[in-house]
Symmetry: C2
Subunit: 339 residues, 2 copies
């Protein structure tokens, strides 16, 4: 007999069912559930008791479809970076988790094409806000304008392109790099190698600019081409090691956690750190304190950026305001005893 019972997806109880059960009108039930002031508290309690008893859960597609909203925030990320991304997501989640918004997440895999597709998904899902860190192949924000036109709040974070169209949340990249060099200089380091990521990123260009200008400010000769190395996905560590030994460097600036992780083994292997050179990095803070010996860094916290960006998004939704470029202050974490 058992095989007569085939699986039929349980028809979930809805507001209409609840109304029938209580001999009320669907609209009354709806209002009771959302604590509408018109409904007397006795009715509210009856309705809520029944809702709890029969495990009523609203269908959010129906609700938000009707309300022409979605309570959905899109988080768009270019890649899976183990240092920065988890902190960033943590920060975003911290702000959004009790706000009633849910997070729909997209990865552009550093492709502009994919980023454009994702913009369409955001429109199709009628998201209420977009937090986006741009792909490394994105050169401008034109493809984000349809979001703006649709009235969707967009906040760029971390990997951004500054424009008049969109609010951004970043650290002061140029200043961070400048401070780092200055710090090395104050500790009598004058031959400094800068280790940078892909120069097509605005974030890289700004940090290179800061690196260079700090040399000038300090009265040091400007760094030559050989003093600035760009590391790509396929750069071999042997190549970096040759660069490290090419000159008598006494200081190294590393612009990110990935690059610190990438290069640290070389510093140790060549017995440069802590013996001969000082290192300053820009970092999310987790890696440099776990390394041995530890590494001084300027704190570039994904958590803080995520929190700020999400907060800016929510407050912009509450009361719309103009485009603003928010800059998260950085902070020196001094961890070596050698400099």
């Amino acid at each position: 007999m058992d095989n007569y019972f085939i699986f039929v997806p349980m028809n979930r109880i809805n507001i209409k069912d609840l109304a029938k059960l209580l001999s009320l009108n669907p609209s009354t039930v709806s209002r009771a559930l959302s604590d509408h002031p018109d409904i007397k508290s006795e009715t509210k309690e009856r309705v809520k008791a029944a809702a709890a008893e029969f495990n009523y859960l609203p269908n959010l597609h129906a609700r938000y479809f009707r309300q022409k909203s979605s309570r959905l925030i899109a988080l768009v990320l270019p890649e899976f970076n183990m240092y920065f991304i988890p902190g960033l997501m943590d920060g975003v989640n911290t702000v959004l988790k009790d706000s009633g918004y849910s997070i729909i997440i997209f990865f552009s895999d550093n492709s502009l094409e994919r980023e454009k597709e994702i913009v369409n998904y955001c429109l199709s899902w009628v998201v209420e806000g977009v937090l986006i860190s741009l792909s490394e192949h994105t050169k401008n924000c034109d493809h984000l304008l349809p979001l703006k036109d649709a009235g969707i709040t967009v906040v760029l974070l971390d990997k951004v392109i500054h424009s008049q169209d969109f609010t951004t949340v970043t650290i002061d990249d140029k200043d961070a790099a400048r401070n780092a060099v200055q710090y090395l200089y104050e500790n009598k380091k004058t031959h400094i190698l800068g280790i940078f990521a892909n120069p097509s990123l605005e974030i890289t260009r700004l940090r290179v600019a800061g690196f260079t200008s700090a040399h000038l400010d300090a009265g040091l000769p400007p760094p030559g081409d050989e003093d600035i190395v760009y590391i790509y996905k396929d750069t071999k560590s042997e190549w970096l090691e040759a660069k490290l030994l090419a000159k008598n460097y006494d200081g190294v600036f590393v612009m990110s956690d990935e690059l610190l992780m990438y290069s640290y083994a070389s510093f140790r292997k060549l017995q440069l750190y802590p013996q001969k050179i000082s290192i300053v990095a820009i970092s999310d803070g987790i890696l440099p304190i776990q390394l041995y010996p530890q590494v001084s860094h300027f704190l570039h916290s994904g958590y803080e950026i995520g929190k700020k960006a999400a907060a800016v998004l929510l407050s912009t939704k509450k009361e719309p305001s103009g485009v603003f470029h928010h800059v998260i202050p950085i902070q020196l974490i001094r961890l070596d005893s050698v400099v």
Copy 2:
């Protein structure tokens, strides 16, 4: 005059508008857009051209609401772990990105209460599948049963509790720990310290079991209480260092990347590694090759687990099948020259 132009959210073009524009019926437009065989190709082309011209994008809430589906997969994670989570998300994304599903992400922050709330969100969003790694306070899967009852496919991954109700994707935790000890033993290490996470996790208990049983298999005396250390969020590294020096250990087993990161500085500081001890870890693979010196490990790839879990989810949706416990094979990555 300018202030007469207040912002009115642009009424997006919908199927009805498109139909009016083309003097067609909305249903015809709908069918044309979804390549219904009844519609002649000339009409299809007209419709698609107009859709492209006027930037028509479907309202997915309306579509999936009508279709009683959602093309939404929930990814539920307990915390922000920099080693494992990014790889896991990468794996999930790799499988889902071209499947038409979007990912809605929730973090339980290791709270069972929050996990229950998230289950309700999944039901309210009518998600089509749930990929969940359990919170460390979750002791059974009863709170997931409403998902099952609603016909929603659930796949547990990594931090799981095995039961007859839900499919799981994990590595063979017990076997991985056993292999690790065996590997140390084969390299003549007989005094082995095991470093473990919170023992309330099934994943920890299994790895401890493997650690212990491997001692017996090898004919070693079973590890005493002092040979197994559990590291909690607030455990001080001084305490670990005392344990490391308490006996003449020649081998250490570390059950995860976080713990490897946590303990590695101590090994180096005390000049234990590579001088006096060998280390074997269970790891996602990124950290141990970047450390200097590198660390041998059994590869526990978040990427592979994420990929497998997402693939299992999709295939289960295509043709429903019973509960199955999938085990991802682990692989020894031998990296030290000292053992």
